[in-house]
Symmetry: C2
Subunit: 80 residues, 2 copies
Amino acid sequence: MRVKIFVSLKEGVLDPQGKAVERSLHSLGYGEVGEVRMGKYMELSLNLSSREEAEARVREMCARLLANPVIEDYRFEIQE
Amino acid sequence: MRVKIFVSLKEGVLDPQGKAVERSLHSLGYGEVGEVRMGKYMELSLNLSSREEAEARVREMCARLLANPVIEDYRFEIQE
């Protein structure tokens, strides 16, 4: 199984990296760009056969290590 | 328009951050995890009305600033 995990900052949490990218894009001439928010993207393979078990395990991994639930949201997609 | 951009390391490029996450997951008891690859995830808003123009502009932004085409691949999704 392949899992894609997307971690992004919660609404309202300051994102200085996103702001820096936004300013760089503006100075390169991309004035049409509005707000930029940065996040993390992870791909991992899982040696499990049950989709339910995979979902539960990935949710646990996100809560314990991959995302910081205080300031970040996550979502994931599982492909068989 | 909202754009989601996913940047990941090309196949074969060493990913020490992914390796570190992989080892941490193993030591937390997630032995079912195989290879982990880390990437970047960005969300941005665009003040454009044509989808074709948006695609061309985002492709250009990725090539010039958001991804390093030597070691990274990117893909993006545009939502109206």
